[in-house]
Amino acid sequence: MSDVVERTLTALPSLLSSDPSPGRPSSTSKLGTLIRGITELTSKHDEEKLIQRELVSIKEQVSSPNTTMMKELMVRAVYCEMLGYEASFSYIHAIKLAQQGTALDKRVGYLAVSLFLNESHELLLLLVNTVLKDLQSTNLIEVCMALTVVGQVFPKDMIPAILPMVEEKLNHPKEIIRRKAVLALYKFYLIAPNQVQHIHSKFRKALCDKDPGVMSASLHIYLEMKPESYKDLVVSFVTILKQVVGGKLPIDFNYHSVPAPWLQIQLLRILSLLGKNDRSTSEMMYEVLDESLRRAEMNHNITYAILFECVKTIYTIHPKAELLEKAAKCIGNFVLSPKINLKYLGLKALTYVVQQDANLALQHQMTIIECLDHADLIIKRETLELLFRITNGQNVKVIVEKLLEFLRHSKDDYRNISKGVYLPINECTYAPDNSWFIRTMNTVFLLVGDQMQPDIPNSFLRLLSEGFESAEEDQQLRLLAVDSYVSLLQEQPARLPQRFLQVISWVLGEYSSVKEGLEPATVLRLLAPLLDLRHCSSETKSWVLAAMTKLSAGPACLSVAQELAERHGGSLDTTLRQRLHELQHLASDGELLRRVLPCSDGLEPLEVDSTLSFLDGFVSEALAAGAAPYKPPHQRQEELAQEKALSVEPYGLSLPLSLSSSSIAGRLSPTVLSMSSGLSGNSTELSPKGGSALRLEGVTRVWGKEGYLAKAALKPEEAAKTEVPCPLSVLQEGGSAPRTPVVSLPAPAPGPSLQAEREKQQLASCLFMGLGSQGAAGPCLMGKAEPTRHGFRKKVKGQGSSSGARGPSGDSASSSPSPLSAQSAMDNLLCSSPLDSGSTPSPADSAPSPADSAPSPADSATSPADPDAEASSWLFSHWVLVVGVQVSRVRGGPEEEEEHVEGHSVAVYQYSLVPTRPSVHMELAGRASYQRPDGEPQSTPFSYGLSLPDFISRPLSVSTEEYGRLWLASSNDIKQNLALLSQEPDPLRATLHRLRDRLQLNVVDIIASEGIVACQLLQGPPCLMHCRLNAGCLAVWLRSSLPELPDCLLYHCQRALAQH
């Protein structure tokens, strides 16, 4: 036994005798005996026996009503649970203790409950009343304990019962209570966002709390929410950060003389979310970011934490050259730091930044090389990750070689965590040639084998099947793969990992025909032994058999198949047996084989009847025979939940507040509420994670010309230009000597280390090959690309801030779903007389009479009759006409777009309108200004009302399965009862068809008393509707990933059904 344990043992008696809390000696000694007992044991088996004995004795004592012992028993049970022994009998006692005991008992009880139970444990329901009672207690500590337990574990369905109480605590005079209440509410938001939609205002209030602790607790939610929903708070966050950085907080909040570092970190994160892809918002924060960078003196760990966050923010938001330069310097400090933690973060920051500014990696290339050989595998891995970000056609071989080396030497534990590492190989974009690619992939499969993420073999196979541009290359690749796999199988198939075997069998099954002279029977014989391998999983066997089935043509194959069937026919694995049967059957019947597995080179997807209509006969037969009709899973769940739904209303507590719990439920009945939370909770729990988390990868390159990259890359560009004009040689030139950085390298140490240093430099030049040249080639490319990118950005921005008016008709034609062709627009123009313009105030009204100036009767025309009216055009024969279309929306500022129409000409403009967020009504407004020949400028406003159905595209055709998937993926839902067209013979069908006709909804399926309906917003997410006949009305349940969409659609459904 080791030194430490021995010492622990010798220290035990003295510790036990000098127990620091003499008030309760017995409790410690009991636990002490247990612990001493455990420590003395040597084998796991003995420990198990001891604990079981202990548990039995706890169980006995716990059921005898002796409250003084209870606390201590509970702690012992907690101890046993911690060691991994279940003490489920004590759960109920923990709840009882929390319920009935004194404050001290409660503390133990609550602790045990939060340690024992999880959110979905049914016993938790018994805790709800206790929590309610304690929340109302006048004892601060009890309130605190109740809030703590609410924040740790609380049943989702029961949130409405205590929500009002927790909200009330936000106004509590004690800041610790307010703080815990804020966190508890945030927890509610995480587990059941639908039930607490109204609390955002409370969080805003908490943000303004006079206590900084409460304020910082309220920040959590903003990291989870979509930044669009709180853009208006930017100023507040900036001000808060400014104050914190400026040391305006009480000195209590200092940590190692840094003011509230954790608060700063959080604020910086929020700012980076807000400033991402948003120039105007970013501009507001430049000053405070600069201040943060300046103030953070490098003297303590925690300052580095702030700096790191700051750098990340600077690189995430809209770039500012000056700040970027400072941030880059900061990253340098990290990377060059001797502290290993900082080095790690520096590499991380580099990985983050390198996509935007590859030159930064060049500056630090020697450090990176050193890190590659670092003793710490984590550092090594991070370095590889970084290298993969700078992979290009020239350095791919070196980098992949490094990766393989890493895989060979690393322990198993690290293999499965190096997920992102395979990325570049898989992409194959940079692979120099096919045989290299196949060889490398083989090595990767062999090395990593079964610990590999499943998507890697999948994408590899997809690559093989879909191929690249040229068919010849594809064939060559396949041939190489088949060749290498055949030889692998001939050698030692037993050693290959499962996943690799699966890949091999698929490729052989699919492409062995590519290789001439390779008989299917030969392949079959190669594959057959795999079935005998002991470590071969049944999944792999299925892959192997599937491959064999594809190949099984000809008499030779039949004999192999029969042989196999004899050998494995008695297998206990039913899947295997079935596959064998299929194989045997297909091998004997060539005609059938060709029909079942048609040989085609093309990748045309097969026509699949996803509605399974060919089964209709079968279904009706089954129904006739008395089978129960099919119910979709969500309905089954719903019915199940209705059966055992719980009342949310607390009983026995005459709370004046309980009425607000029902007001939350609003138009939804309590059962429905609990149901919807149960279902939607699942899907939404996932979504915030992805949405809010600061992702290091995949950040868009937002740098413009004024950004850092262009500036830094200037030098290599000049050099390249003067030396070689040909772009190809520029690449090579740049590759062989990454000039700028090498010059700045520290002078190589003399003596023997010189050699090593040179090697490293050589490695560096290999690794960073192409980077310098990329920089060199970059600006030239960018010179061309720049304007278009600018233009694109503008457009996106327009869309973000208001509904984007798309540019010239040329590209809008492709994006608008039913583009009016120029011809038809003209027809429209010419046919509709001014009288037809209807409600739209026509410019003609205020314009000079057409008769005296224009030969054409139509001076102006709009096309209000068309629901898709996305074009408004004017035809003026004599005057210069300027039409300014202004699109104003509920949220977002106006967007200006101006077009000039020459005199004596006809111009047709088309715009496509895309609503940024749906709302019930939208308005398109504009102003036409024109000048009469006598010079007087005039202008006329016009507007056109749009409603949501105008934006619903043609039926979203989905299959029922897809619908199911979409249903689970959408998080925002709403339920309502709608009026039914009850006078019709088939009310459900009639109602749904009415909706289809009026709102262009697609009726996906109608089964018995239920129907599912889907629609899709133009260039937007789908909205799904599930309808069920329920007591004379139509119970609809709408879901979408867009929060406002179900509401708006519901409104229009109501309207459509109300109009007869």
Binding site: V5, L111, N139, N301, F308
Partner: protein, 192 residues
């Protein structure tokens, strides 16, 4: 968010386990074992971050740990937490333990597991950082401890008295500790 806090000794014996995300009992033990396996192999001169064990959520998760004498303090966090921030939070937690137990050592954690939990509850609530100010944490714990003493036979202390206690200024405790072998070394972090 913090997903789990694990404290175990150099032999992998768990001393305090707190999960903020549900895992089945069996899986919890597996996570503890795996984490110990990962962490214990690492020298003291390598970095304090480890990227995701296979069990607790994959590559989005990080293990951030500190090794004090005989104990490992491991926080498992997702990408929304700052690495260095958590590293210092561990330090705050351990320093708080040191204040509350006066020269904290592994044995304190063993025999007063419940108290350690109460202290932790004041630092981290439901996976979110609640308080980082050591004095504030100590004050909260003291408040509860006084309740313990005052609760001879009375059911609960009146709220006013309790809040009065809370508002009292706590004397600054001596920070430096004599470092016995069993003590958790709380190094005052070296400036760099």
């Amino acid at each position: 968010m913090i997903n789990a806090i694990l404290i175990f000794n150099n032999h992998g014996k768990p001393r305090l386990i707190r999960f903020y995300q549900y895992f089945a009992e069996e899986l919890q033990q597996q996570i503890i074992r795996e984490t110990f396996h990962l962490v214990s192999k690492r020298d003291d001169n390598v970095c304090n971050f480890l990227e995701g064990g296979s069990l607790i959520g994959g590559s989005d998760y990080k293990l951030i740990y500190r090794h004090y004498a005989t104990l490992y303090f491991v926080f498992c966090v997702d990408s929304s937490e700052s690495e260095l921030g958590i590293l210092d939070l561990i330090q705050v937690f351990v320093e708080t333990l040191d204040k509350c137990f006066e020269n904290v050592c592994e044995l304190d954690l063993i025999f007063h597991m419940d108290k350690v939990h109460y202290i932790l509850q004041e630092v981290v609530m439901g996976g979110m950082v609640l308080e980082t100010n050591m004095n504030e944490i100590v004050a909260q714990v003291e408040l509860q401890n006084r309740m313990e003493k005052s609760e001879g036979g009375l059911s609960a202390a009146p709220a006013r008295a309790v809040s009065a206690v809370k508002n009292m200024n706590l004397p600054e405790m001596p920070r430096n500790i004599n470092i016995g072998d069993l003590n958790i070394k709380v190094p005052s972090l070296s400036p760099f």
